[in-house]
Amino acid sequence: MSARETILKRLRERADGALSAPESDFSVMTGRGWTPAERLARFESMITAVHGEVHHAARGEWTQALAAVLRDKGVTRLGVGREHPVAVEARAALADGGVMLVDADRDIAAWSREQFETLEAGLTSTRGAIAETGSLWLWPTPDEPRRLSLVPPLHIAVLDAETIEDTFFDVVEAHGWAQGMPTNALLISGPSKTADIEQTLAYGVHGPRELVVIVRHADAPGQADA
């Protein structure tokens, strides 16, 4: 008998008999009832508490915030996709600047070492965020591959304020995750960190040292959320 059959047989022929399954009450995971302003404030306070950096911009002016971040951080090589509106707008805005735009939508075999050694930042969109824990929700795509938010020392994520939801449970339920998961789904809450050396917090142990979130607002920041 194979290991599979042996294991399943033992579990099915349980000595103390079949078990009954309790029902679960998930109400503790949902129903926060936060307003959009509370949601945004909560998201911002949670992600900045773990070293995330948050910038606000009006929807039409976010690329200026991006350019400012790149300038402040001294980024000269930015990994970026080509199809997502975030990538399209970023490319248009940065076309004449001093930042080299590196195509992220390429087979990784062609540029794995280059990505590790020379890419200074990666720009991605986000599908949404979670206020309760200050988490970004990313589903990597061919246009924005998995490593774009992982390998470069700086990850810049673009988030629309109205896509912030209360809890992880709310996101999973409202967006029907169970009906179709991507090959890789991610929650990202801050830059990479470790406390393995005598519980002293250090950032950027394997993934990005810095995480910048540019929050785009439908109206000018402050107005919609006041």
């Binding site: 399954a21 061919p142 992982l150 339920e173 890789n184 809450s189 005598e198």
Partner: protein
């Protein structure tokens, strides 16, 4: 630095050594105090009892349907392109992993944190086959460089202080000596990035495996888990068969409980959900993803209604952080893959009670572990059950049951039972003990190392009360 091998058989000697080691005492005391405070503050805004109830309930529901869920997990993983393997024990799991590596002619393996792989002794197995297995979690990396094993399931290098880590990095990797944690972290980052690029296979554990969607969930802060499961062309996930949950909606409550209970964090930096290898149109991610489902004693634990609760565990380590014994002796003292309270109720099943005979009794039964357990495992009750099993008074459902049965002890307790249920004999016996109290031994092995031996009183309590009543007979009358 001296590198020592620890075994559960030598628990008493190891505990004695650890208690006399001020470095160990202060490292663990400081760390565990901090973790307890953080956990308390992060749960302050929650109805923690309701959340624990839900967590326990989700795990019980998963266990109640375990064989069906494992088949569903397998089917959905396969539909997603994940290859599923089953292993009866650690050796079989090692062989499966090795064969996957050999099929890819792998020479270098990079590992994310996996306690199951520690339980299987996977690294040693791969190395014997000429495959280098390198740990990438910073704590695991340091412990591996120092030729040790993890002393905590969440913080593997918690027993080491900054100076010791500086020495390890200097001696083993040539890193310049420093007390600057950022500099040491940066050095490890650079060293490990090279290894991620060179690795043929990445091996990780699994925190939750979702049957409904065929999804493997990994919880981490460092990003090494994402690197391990993304950069090498092959990803092998190894997990105990009990880690399956029924639905995707079961994951948020368990994740909320896990991070808060483990390190007092409301969330970890990364929550990585893997539902398949890279698709044809994707540009990165592994070409192959394998899932190895490891039994290794779990299906035996599953048979018994009471012992079953052991399998609810989500490996947060809160029971260690709150254990007065673990905090004082540290993780290595136990000599087992899983230390602390969860180790004491799990390892006897994996290694047998002969080897682990001292573990269930290395507890004051204070109950802290059971109170903080996010899935409400009644750890103290299980410790008592294992004590019963070890003296042959249980159901005989644990390997090595009865190993501590001692005929003299059984006789002593049986006599006690008889005496205590026969008042005449009891009175005669206690009266006699009082008269012969001078003959009571003055040393009782370890008990009297730090204590005075107990002696029967010259007058029994019964006799004293009787005399007291006679002396104050008005009181006695007014009460009756």
């Amino acid at each position: 630095m001296s590198v020592q091998t620890y075994t559960p058989q030598a628990f008493h000697r190891q505990a004695h050594d650890a208690l006399g080691n001020p470095q160990i005492r202060s490292n663990f005391r400081r760390a565990m105090d901090g973790l307890m405070d953080k956990r308390r503050s992060v749960f302050s805004e929650w109805d923690v009892e309701t959340l624990r109830e839900l967590g326990a309930n989700i795990r019980l529901r998963a266990l109640s349907r375990l064989p069906d869920l494992l088949e569903q997990l397998e089917a959905n993983c396969q539909a997603n392109g994940i290859r599923v393997h089953w292993a009866g024990d650690g050796d079989e799991a090692c062989r499966i992993v090795r064969e996957i590596c050999q099929a890819r002619e792998a020479k270098a393996v990079i590992k994310g944190k996996s306690m199951v792989s520690e339980e299987m002794h996977l690294n040693a197995h791969l190395e014997a086959a000429g495959i280098e297995a390198l740990e990438s979690d910073l704590g695991e990396y340091l412990v591996q460089l120092n030729e040790q094993t993890p002393s905590h399931i969440i913080m593997p290098a918690i027993h080491l202080n900054t100076d010791e880590i500086s020495d390890i990095l200097h001696d083993k990797t040539g890193t310049e000596r420093t007390r600057d944690v950022d500099a040491m972290t940066a050095a490890a980052r650079a060293q490990l990035r090279e290894r991620f690029m060179a690795a043929d296979v990445g091996i990780s554990g699994v925190n939750f495996a979702v049957a409904e969607t065929g999804t493997l969930c990994l919880v981490e802060n460092e990003g090494n888990g994402r690197m391990t499961t993304t950069v090498p062309p092959v990803h092998i996930a190894v997990t105990g068969i009990e880690k399956v949950v029924e639905q995707l909606r079961d994951v948020p409550p368990l994740y909320a409980l896990l991070t808060r209970s483990a390190t007092g964090q409301p969330v970890t930096t990364y929550f990585n959900m893997i539902s398949g290898p890279r698709r044809a149109d994707e540009h990165d991610g592994p070409e192959e993803v394998h899932l190895v489902l490891v039994d290794n004693g779990r299906s035996a634990i599953y048979q018994d209604d009471e012992l079953l609760d052991t399998l609810r565990c989500i490996r947060c380590g809160a029971c260690m952080n709150h254990c007065p014994v673990y905090t004082r002796v540290g993780g290595h003292t136990y000599g087992t893959t899983y230390p602390g309270p969860i180790g004491k109720i799990l390892m006897p099943h994996l290694m047998g009670l002969e080897a682990t005979r001292d573990l269930p009794s290395a507890s004051s039964l204070c109950g802290a572990c059971g109170e903080v357990c996010p899935v409400k495992i009644p750890i103290p009750d299980l410790l008592v059950r294992l004590r019963k099993e070890s003296v042959g008074e249980g159901r005989g459902n644990v390997p090595g049951a009865g190993v501590k049965r001692n005929r003299k002890e059984v006789f002593a307790w049986k006599s006690w039972q008889w005496l205590a249920t026969h008042p005449g004999a009891w009175r005669a016996g206690t009266g006699m003990a009082g008269k012969l109290r001078g003959l009571a031994p003055s040393t009782l092995r370890p008990w009297t190392d730090y204590r005075t031996a107990p002696k029967p009183a010259s007058t029994t309590l019964h006799a004293l009360v009787k005399r007291h009543r006679q002396d104050h007979d008005t009181t006695g009358e007014s009460e009756s």
